[in-house]
Amino acid sequence: MSALFKSLRFLLPLFVFLAIAGFLLKGLWLDPREIPSPLIDKPAPEFRLESLEDPGRQIDRKDMLGKVWLLNAWASWCVACREEHPVLVEFARSSMVPIVGLNYKDTRVDGMRWLAQFGNPYVTSLFDEAGRVGIDFGVYAVPETFLIDKQGVVRFKQIGPVTPELLHEKIIPLIQRLNA
């Protein structure tokens, strides 16, 4: 018994190393920079912002209750947003869900010009000049996209551009489930 313990003792460093190696292996496919959202399955934060196109019109959280909708944070200075924009424009044509833009830390002029140039998939864009609503939603790197259900609860967040694969594999099935 003590002989067994003695040999096991010497194997301990090897076992510890193998455990560490296992974690390192798993880690190669994780992204340490990606920050998951603490808002998932929690109510979306309160907001009230002016519309980008129509300064006189205000939109708040209550206006979006009762439907499943996408909130997409974008900006005219954001290079990666250009990558995902055609995907959103295409998706908007299907009218499956309303897409609301969150124009993050931008100017009205630049934002409108960008939409004119690259297309406008949004039913409207919220004009978040100071970025406060962005902070409330935990935005840290545009583009980011949130899927919010009929009760106003955040169900999904994508950090980085929305790709067609992501749309088909994750977002659309989830929309269908939430709409059912």
Binding site: P13, L14, L25, G27, L28, P32
Partner: protein, 661 residues
């Protein structure tokens, strides 16, 4: 043409490494003298080939050969010459070649300074190092080749990262790698001893100088990295517990434990298993550090561009080397004998406790560094582990070791007499307590943490003085001067290194306790009081460097009414890379640094300026340099003198061959 020669040299080197890594080791197991004799020449050929490859890379940089991808990514025509050379290790591929170059240098050195080693031993040592080199060669050729071509060639390069265009960065990586990679020698010695089944005091004696050299370089390398961060990064910090910093600190902790452990194995024949394990740990942590920096598994300011493919390769390499050596350890170590007897309280047991403490410290740093990854991998959330954690956990862990530093050198081998030690040290303890209480009061604000730090530092210093005095105190045996001259260099090295630790603690404690930081808005003519000085802003001038434009601020520094000096912090805009860089102005001093850096311009003439007064901060790096000096002194000990070694070489080889098998 030149890059192709470089590539070819690497491929031939790979073939040589295959030979070096297999035949001598098999030869040693089978008693095949011819295969064993291959080790030394193969080692030297390997080194020469890697030198050829490195020279090709250097030549490509010097010729501005932008048809080489790596050169194009890390240099420009206007880059000053020293930085063209440093650009060698400015990016991932080149730094891997530097790793390999330094490893092959160590292999070469071992092949030269090992005439006294038995044939089987040297065959195994060089063989193991050859296998490690093989791993790196394959990694470079298959995933990270600095000789890849860019066709058509770029007209102008991308410039070396501006943060690296600094004298500190020219020296820091090579120093660090000399240390990091140098632990491969102790590792190879340990594996060779496990393979040959001859772990004894002679093995420890042979290993020791190699370990001390590597440790010294690593100490200098880490010290330089910290000093560089301080004076380049612009926010006055000198240690961030960043994953890559930790990656160099963990081998240092293991290496320190190893050095102390080797001393015991050499003198008393004890701790053999511990020492072997520590040698494996030290180098394993070096390799692990290499993995962490390049795999994208952790985020870090230092991290190279990540690539999962590279990550997988290094991980496989890690698994083979570390897993293999730990498996060999598990198999062979239980058979090793016990060594001499020592009591529960003795210098041996204190040094063993020291080992446990240093290993626990290394484990603590490893845990903190890997924890975010572990949680993420288990799907348990994403957290950050930063300086607040490490500062809280690491310091209390090290404190007992620092206390032991006072007792250990005074303790007898085999059986320590605690009451005697206490009697000898009671004054040192009293003085330490007095200092601990006085210093915070002198500085103007009481702090228990500062008191604790000063207590430990004064304790280490005081006990070192007591130790020294007991050996040089005039007696019938001789006068002070003769006794001083007769002190073994190794002993002096220990004292100097321990005093270096005390100086380091003083620096850290006083800086953290009493540094002053102010963010102020300054217009031309405004003044700000900081520490014992007043800084007056005189405005900015513009100018051009070799590959950048700059705005230079001018500050007059006054003590009372007297102008002491002027300081010139800069904001630099590099032509090729287009990102502004802050170059802080630092006025160093033994009692404290004045540190000024330009923030943002808030109007045509006014700037936000950050000024710091950092008391005793240079004692941090001074302490590290003292530690390194201690290492150098230990190496210059009479026992390692070459002439003496050569005289006994022939006798020893015969006797050694008998004991080595």
């Amino acid at each position: 043409m030149i890059p192709e020669i470089g590539n070819f040299a690497l491929m031939v080197a790979t073939a040589v490494a295959v030979v070096l890594g297999t035949l001598p080791i098999i030869g040693a197991a089978r008693g095949n003298v011819r295969w064993m004799e291959l080790a030394r020449p193969a080692a030297r050929v390997l080194f020469l080939l890697v030198v050829v490859a490195s020279s090709c890379l250097v030549a490509s940089f010097l010729h501005d050969d932008f048809s080489d991808v790596y050169v194009a990514n890390n240099s420009t025509h206007a880059l000053p010459l020293p930085y063209k050379l440093a650009a060698f290790w400015g990016g991932h591929e080149g730094s891997m070649l530097l790793w390999l170059q330094i490893l092959s240098f160590w292999i070469f050195a071992v092949s030269i300074f090992s005439a006294h080693l038995p044939r089987e031993m040297i065959a195994r040592i060089l063989g193991v190092m050859g296998l490690v080199a093989l791993g790196f060669l394959l990694f470079i050729i298959l995933t990270s080749d600095p000789f890849d071509r860019l066709l058509p060639a770029a007209a102008e390069g991308n410039d070396l990262n501006p943060l690296l265009q600094d004298p500190g960065m020219v020296v820091h990586p090579p120093m660090l790698y000399m240390g990091y990679v140098g632990f491969s020698v102790a590792f190879a010695f340990a594996i060779a001893a496990l393979l040959g089944g001859n772990l004894d005091a002679t093995w420890a004696r042979w290993s020791r100088p190699w370990t001390t050299v590597a440790w010294t370089f690593l100490t200098i390398g880490i010290c330089m990295g910290s000093a560089w961060a301080y004076y380049t990064l612009g926010w006055g910090g000198w240690w961030f517990w960043d994953p890559v910093e930790n990656a160099s600190f963990m081998p240092w902790l293991a290496g320190t434990a190893l050095m102390h452990s080797l001393a015991v194995t050499e003198k008393r024949g004890g701790f053999k298993v511990w020492t072997v394990l520590l040698a494996i740990f030290a180098f394993s942590l070096s390799l692990l550090g290499t993995f962490l920096v390049r795999s994208g598994v952790l985020t870090s300011v230092h991290a190279f561009a990540s690539d999962p493919r590279r990550g997988v390769f290094i991980l496989l390499f890690l698994a083979t080397v570390i897993g293999g050596s730990l498996a060999l350890f598990a198999w062979r170590a239980p058979k090793v004998g016990l060594g001499e007897r020592f009591e529960m309280i003795s210098r041996e047991s204190m040094l063993l406790t020291n080992n446990v403490l240093f290993l626990a410290a290394a484990a603590c740093v490893l845990l903190g560094t890997l924890y975010p990854l572990i949680l993420d991998a288990l799907g348990l959330g994403k957290i950050s582990v930063g300086p607040p954690y490490f500062d809280t956990v690491f310091v209390p862990l090290m404190a007992p070791a620092l206390f032991l530093m006072g007792l250990g050198p005074l303790a007898r081998w085999r059986k320590a007499n605690l009451p005697e030690i206490a009697a000898r040290l009671k004054w040192a303890f009293a003085v330490s307590v007095v200092c601990a209480v006085l210093v915070p009061l002198i500085e103007g604000r009481w702090s228990a943490l500062v008191a604790a730090g000063i207590l430990l530092a004064a304790w280490i210093f005081g006990t070192s003085v007591v130790n020294l005095w007991s050996r040089v105190r005039p007696t019938a045996g001789g006068q002070i001067r003769t006794k001083l001259a007769a002190l073994p260099r190794g002993y002096v090295g220990m004292l100097v290194a321990h005093i270096g630790v005390a100086a380091f603690i003083v620096g850290v404690t006083l800086v953290k306790g009493y540094e002053v930081e102010k963010d102020v808005r300054m217009d031309a003519g405004d003044t700000v009081a900081v520490g014992p000085y007043t800084a007056k802003f005189l405005g900015t001038t513009e100018g051009e460097g070799p590959n950048y434009v700059y705005l230079r601020g001018q500050f007059d520094i006054l003590k009372g009414e007297r102008l002491v000096r002027t300081m010139h912090p800069e904001k630099r805009q590099f032509n090729a890379r287009g990102e502004p860089m802050t170059d802080a102005a630092i006025s160093p001093g033994i009692t404290g640094d004045l540190y000024i850096s330009l923030g943002e311009a808030v109007s045509q003439t006014a700037w936000v300026v950050r000024v710091y007064y950092k008391p005793f901060i240079d004692w941090i790096w001074g302490g590290c340099l003292l530690m390194a000096l201690g290492g150098v002194l230990a190496l210059s000990d009479r026992r390692y003198r070459l002439a003496q070694r050569r005289a006994t070489a022939s006798e020893v080889t015969v006797a050694g061959a008998a004991s080595g098998a």
